[in-house]
């Protein structure tokens, strides 16, 4: 039973940076290219994030995310360059479909922006422990109930997947066919999903009692067992990031 968190547990200069600074980085590196509208700046931001992810040793975990988004990007490129009306400059043709140069340029700017956002967020998720994220937010005033819900999802979803498997086994043991045509599968839906729902409701009630027994609803300001991550260069890094943002705004205005 593992967590579905994407966090890569390593030590690196990127891991050392605190969550808020990373959040500021993320905002600046997404907003700045959009403000300036320069594709070159988008490409630059995207490359910086990529280098940081590689230096944090988290490239391997980035791959599945990248692969998933490749699918989306490919469809963006095809639609933008071949199926949008009003373009004239045909670059190449595959079968009956013409691909236009203007479309491809437009598509590439969308792709860059998308990758930029994706990598900036991935940088945070891959190199920050979920508990550090949530606890930082709690220290800033997020309710501890919401914090608990966010954190528990990481472990409870894999558990539910496990339960699903057991339930499927139990129903097949009673002669329920779960494989075959759509009709057979539809018939198997209720016997499979019913116990999952009831099980998780019962599990939730039991867990709620266990949480109450550990003073979950105490109305005091909480303390934290995990040390608050302290980043030595927090102020200069944040200042530089802010400066970047100001420069990009200035660039746009001038």
């Amino acid at each position: 039973m593992t967590s579905i968190s994407l966090y890569v547990d390593k030590k690196s200069i990127v891991h050392d940076v605190d969550f808020l600074t990373k959040l500021i980085y993320c905002c600046v590196f997404i907003v700045a290219p959009i403000i300036t509208g320069a594709v070159i700046l988008g490409t630059f931001s995207f490359l910086v994030s990529l280098i940081l992810i590689i230096s944090a040793g988290a490239l391997k975990k980035l791959m599945p995310i990248a692969a998933l988004s490749l699918f989306v990007l490919l469809s963006v490129i095809i639609i933008q360059s071949a199926f949008i009306q009003g373009y004239h400059d045909v670059l190449f043709t595959i079968g009956p479909v013409h691909f236009y140069r203007e479309g491809l340029i437009h598509a590439s700017s969308i792709v860059v922006r998308f990758l930029d956002i994706l990598l900036a967020f991935s940088l945070i998720v891959l190199t920050t422990h979920p508990a550090d994220m949530v606890e930082t937010l709690q220290r800033k005033g997020l309710s501890h109930r919401i914090g608990y819900v966010i954190l528990s999802v990481f472990q409870i979803i894999p558990q539910m997947a496990q339960t699903m498997k057991t339930i499927s086994d139990a129903q097949r043991s009673r002669g329920l066919e779960t494989e075959g045509n759509i009709f057979i599968r539809a018939k198997a839906f209720l016997p499979l999903i019913g116990p999952v729902v009831i099980n998780s409701l019962i599990g939730t009630r039991e867990r709620a009692m266990a949480l109450e027994a550990r003073a979950f609803s105490a109305e005091v300001k909480h303390t934290y067992f995990r040390d608050e991550p302290v980043y030595r260069y927090k102020t200069p890094v944040r200042l530089i990031l802010l400066l970047l943002l100001i420069v990009s705004i200035a660039w746009r205005l001038l």
Binding site: M1, S3, A131, H144, Y148, L151, S152, F154, Q155, I156, Q159, G203, E206, R207, A208, M209, A210, L211, E212, A213, R214, A215, F216, S217, A218, E219, V220, K221, H222, T223, Y224, F225, R226, D227
Partner: protein, 282 residues
Amino acid sequence: MSKIIVKSLKYKYPLTEALALNGLTFQIERGEFIGIIGRNGAGKSTLCAALSGLVPHFFKGAYGGSILIDGINVKESKLSDIARKVGIVFQNPFTQMTGAKDSVTEELAFGMENLAIPKTEMVRRIDDALRLLEIENLRDKNPFELSGGQMQRVAIASILVMLPEVIVLDEPTSQLDPQGTEEVFKAIKRLSNQGMTIIMVEHKTEKIAEYADRVMLLDQGQIVAFDPPAKLFSLSNLEERGVRPPVFTRVAKGLDIHDQVGLYPVTLESTVNEVQKVYESH
């Protein structure tokens, strides 16, 4: 002074008709080890919930009478305040893990974080609890990667660090294998030796006979008897109440081996002694 004073406690779950607890009056002294036995539906779990404040603060319903623990009235206190006095451990170790912590130490810290205990104090209490339950080697493990017996000891430790004066355990070993059961019983025994008040629901009467100072037999929400094990398991109508006495007592009853006041031996040791006396004098 008694630690726990219960006076004519009555309770009915919402949307039901029968009383789950029907007029319980009893006292428990500081440091006692109490076993609770009885058939399913007798009110054992409900009593645990009442002692830990889950009744009536988590389960609503009709409530009468009172429970005083160390001077505080359960009905009029908040759950988080009761949690400092009474800890409760349930059957299923799995649902007692928060699911929000990925190491045993952090899992143990959860309750203390909620009570705003300073970090240095947390560390001290966690070390103590890990040592007492002999799970120091598990401190950095993910709670969900543990065996049932280990997970249940983590559940007990997570209560223990809140320094309650009473620990209520509702069939803590029913889902464990023999080794896990033994680990948990040893741990509870150590807590008891440290002077903690233990209240434990358990079907394994041999274990109860061995460990408990007094045993409460419940049936239909009422106390049938509340006596030391030898006296309680010597009662003649236990089977009618859905309870089978320890196998040792059944043997002694079959052989008609009892002391002057009619009490049968209830543990392995005492039965061995008594049987030897009778069967070697021949």
